[in-house]
Symmetry: D2
Subunit: 360 residues, 4 copies
């Protein structure tokens, strides 16, 4: 078994890591770390509200009993020597400081954006750009690290990049226009989106989100060329909004393809897409990366976000667009806190174990 | 005073007409009509639930006391001889039968789509295409009617067309891509959208909506050329969705302009847009047709739908798009049951009174 | 295996029966029936929307593939001769006509209220009043039937009666005051609660609900005395409201007990409550009939409705009330469409199979 | 004109004071104060988000332009010498320190709970217990102040006490049981209720709320006896919950009266209730303190919260209860941030101006 720490274990993303790793066949939770305030307490104590006695457990799934008695370490001083992976579930400003420290010796898989745009850092989605893992060798060499940092994408990028991949392969992509209707869980809880602000409402702006999605999509769908990634050449233009949905980002996508194609050809390309050999056999991988509906009332976030335990991207309403050159339009739903967060990061760990970048 | 009937007076759109006409300076409600079932009863009886005694009044505004004792006529047999305008708030299949009957002698202003796409029928938005009113002369002649039919647009078209108009005038429009996040009220109440279906959800399809918006936008922004309207040449491509918002459609718009322009130039063109002379002086007209926000968190449907009593189109986040040629993107909020329905139809009546097409 | 029909199979409750019986160890689905309109079609055809091709499947769980090719019969003419149970998921007015027809020879387990208040008809909650099953013998004799009718309670009664049972047993109950905050799913879909009406709102009235809850609770917690049920003597007073929650009824309960008791004694009585021997071993039974939380922020419908697959009643905030004599107050959450509907009815079937009232 | 300061002017309650005082005939805003961080800036600067430029204005009503250029003072050092009233919209812990400072010389009207339970401090609702204002004389004497402190009740107490008052007067009250379904706005914004937590949910606990409501209701409905208030003798037992409603608390009330009464007698007593002479003539007073509906589907928070600009208490479903002695039950809706907060405090100021406790 590979030994993993979760840094930021008391927050909502940290808790999602606990759920994603419960009963994992290859990886065991060997350490938990959080801020100094939690250090020295058991995990249960650390997430118990002192005043009301309530457990601050934020996942829909029940609390993971196995870790309740584990001690929580101070992330800034965590001893990683006995570990193989550090899953990082901390904010970007902290990630900037802590992740390189751990990466000197260990594999760091991060949900933070701190290093996503560095040239020698891959943004991995197993099945979509598994070959970008090779950039880790470049990174190690450049930085003189035995370990490495591999962030996952922003949760809004994930579904967009996945559904675009078979279009890229089969027809080529010229340009992408996307409007997202994002779930509340993407904003976290500190303080996240206030109920008063989102009830009977749409919030038309998510700071920094559009730039991330545009840049990450190009990088993920770029080509690994020996020792660097050459970003995809097509432009991506987004408008990102927040709607009153708990989980599951919905995206309205318009694509211009290089080669003309019919809607049913796009549907077939998506349905048949399987990624690199073995990718869908990883323990957390969905059996179908993309599920395509014919029913025009799908995908809906509430009905489709949990497809394949939140690891599939669900697409519907594929049809021609008459504005873009060879235009195709569709909607997708992607689970922002499963494939788009902790469980997606665990899937990256599985890929890197299989590829030999991580071992016990 | 011009005398008006409301046909379909017991439904939600009919009730919105009652609210929009309450205390109107030029128009008085002279007759109410609905289905045979309501005929012969007072308005109050007609909207009272027999079993519970509850009033089936659906507007946020209080019931209009002035009409409670008015008799409701059978729409199919309504005597329109003493009337000047028939406001039609009925479904399209009924509209197809009843509206031409009334139009032989009277002005019919309709929220139904039945005649929107006929060549000799204008779709009017005062201030945007007031000059299309002249098509009424063509219609009268072609159909041998003393009256006429003028439908208002689909409620999703309204805001899109309004915000595009100053762009058309100042920079020219090549193409439009739009994703809507539409309010529940747009679906009406028979049965409308079920709470179970929209809670914690987005519904990605509204039957027929996208085609309507695409076609109507081209017609409204087309040029009146002597005896017909030549539709605007640019393509419009939409994806229309439903979100858990009570009133106010939000639209994410991407526009390719003919002439390159900066975001602030677009903002200025929108802010300064006033329509034809006198249009903003009509009793129901907004003082500002378009309100533009700098705050990136605006427009929001809950905060902005009621601007200028629901008659203004509120725009925000105007910025460059890097996919379309001379691309500009923005969001807008438009009140779908005020400017987009009954009160918008009353505004059309006002325009046609001013232009002499309707008189007492 | 016991052979069951589902009458009303195309509606939402019928679909919940399909889900509740999927892979059932004792019961197999042998027939499906619905209105004449569906008769003669496969189940899949019967629930497919002709116009859009969309599947009218209303459960959160995926459609039950096993029944998709089964033919749907006309409920009014269904041949029940080869069946052992008829699960009735139809409206009360139809139930009044159809259920007695089937009950002449077969066991009818119904979610309708049509026969709940008949003297010789038990309202069963296995584990709470399993001994009331003996009233079936009285019913058969009185009506000359080989079969029988056993309705389950109204979904709002279920949780109330369950949590009251251990209080009755341990301390005696004098009186009950309850305010419910009920989920949308309790109203069904025809048309159910319109999104427009419940968004940002509470609806303070559910026709007929309060009377049902008051009467059924007394009957369920009454004593079976040889050949009739003597209703519990305490009064129940309710106010039933609807809130914007998808599933899971929340109830705020105030109880006057006969014997003074502390909150922790009530908690213990609830936690230790196991019903009659064997009741919790039935295939669909929850392992714990009642789950009691110490965390004052529980129960919450979204977090607790699915406890024990929606079959447990979840209680919290047990504390003293200073108004009622020996007053105790608490909140509970009960899954209205699992324990409170189809799966609760399947649990009744299991009890009656065990007790020999149903056999293959 | 009476000169008023608003302390805590940048928060949501402070902003509601600005709205409540806009164009007030007797009171003008003469000073604004907030935390040290805002001090020295204009009000507009103080509520503008530095990063995004967005205005942090939280009311549904548009920002009050008149105060945008007013300077914001540091509350801890505010010079009150030129003022007549200090409206305090700060948290209780700060109120404990600052309010007595101002009260030495000035009238302090507070939304905080800090002094509500002090023996010499009245909790005023004009029209309900206007005569309690006389306790101010006692307070001044006891504390040696020229000014005084008068807090308004908790927003959940307000509607409960108002609707109970005519029952007290006409029939006497023995006991009250109440379950509330409270709006999100009652929790404020720091951080208030997170959207993730309330979507598709009910939260069954609001810390400290039930104790406040129980105690305050007894005090408000108590009798002023020369130099102290003798609290009402009846017990009040509450369960307070939070539902997904923006504004307007809904309360399900069960009352035991001393004298038997019919539902229609209670309705009449409520409808005819007018308070002390002149109370309903105060500028912010509702014309009807209590509005009673016959329609069983009322009151609903979304439809009824704004009755009389949020100053009326709206009651419905008055009917007999069969559990309590002379039991009556009903539901009410009360606007928690109008009558229940700033505008209710302005109404108190108006009463105290009329009674001569405040003057310019």
């Amino acid at each position: 078994m590979v030994k993993a720490a979760i840094v930021g274990a008391t927050g909502i993303v940290g808790q999602q890591f606990l759920v994603a790793l419960k009963g994992h066949p290859w990886i065991q939770i060997a350490a938990l770390a959080a801020s100094e305030r939690s250090a020295g307490r058991s995990y249960k104590e650390a997430i118990t509200d002192a005043q009301s006695g309530a457990l601050r457990w934020f996942c829909q799934e029940p609390p993971v009993e196995e870790v309740m008695t584990m001690p929580v370490q101070n992330a800034a001083e965590m001893d990683a020597s006995a570990l193989d992976i550090v899953f990082s579930a901390i904010e970007s400003d902290q990630a900037k400081i802590l992740e390189p420290k751990f990466a000197r010796d260990k594999a760091v898989i991060s949900t933070a954006s701190a290093f996503r745009y560095d040239e020698d850092v891959p943004i991995l989605i197993p099945g979509i750009n598994s070959e970008h893992a090779k950039l880790i060798d470049v990174q190690r060499k450049a930085r003189g690290w035995k370990g490495f940092i591999t962030p996952i994408p922003n949760c809004t990028t994930t579904g967009l990049a996945i559904a675009l991949k078979p279009i890229c392969e089969s027809f080529g992509v010229n340009a992408v226009i996307m409007t997202s209707m994002q779930a509340l869980s993407g904003a976290g809880r500190s303080p996240g989106v206030i109920g008063l602000d989102i009830l009977d409402n749409v919030i038309p702006f998510i700071a920094g989100e559009e730039e991330k999605v545009q840049r990450e999509t190009q990088k993920i769908l770029g080509r690994f060329a020996g020792n660097s990634i050459s970003s995809a050449k097509f432009n991506v233009s987004c408008t990102c909004t927040r709607v009153n949905v708990r989980e599951g980002h919905t995206e309205s996508v318009f694509v211009s393809t290089q080669k003309a194609c019919e809607a049913d050809e796009v549907a077939r390309a998506m349905r048949e897409y399987v990624g690199s050999p073995g990718d869908t056999d990883l323990p957390s991988a969905p059996r179908h990366m993309i599920i395509v509906h014919e029913d025009p009332f799908r995908p809906q976030p509430r009905l489709d976000r949990d497809a394949e335990d939140g690891m599939a991207t669900v697409v519907g309403r594929i049809r021609k667009d008459n504005v873009l050159k060879n235009g195709i339009k569709y909607l997708l739903v992607s689970h922002n806190t499963k494939m788009g967060a902790a469980k997606g990061a665990v899937l990256v760990a599985e890929l890197l174990i299989r590829e030999g970048y991580i071992s016990s």
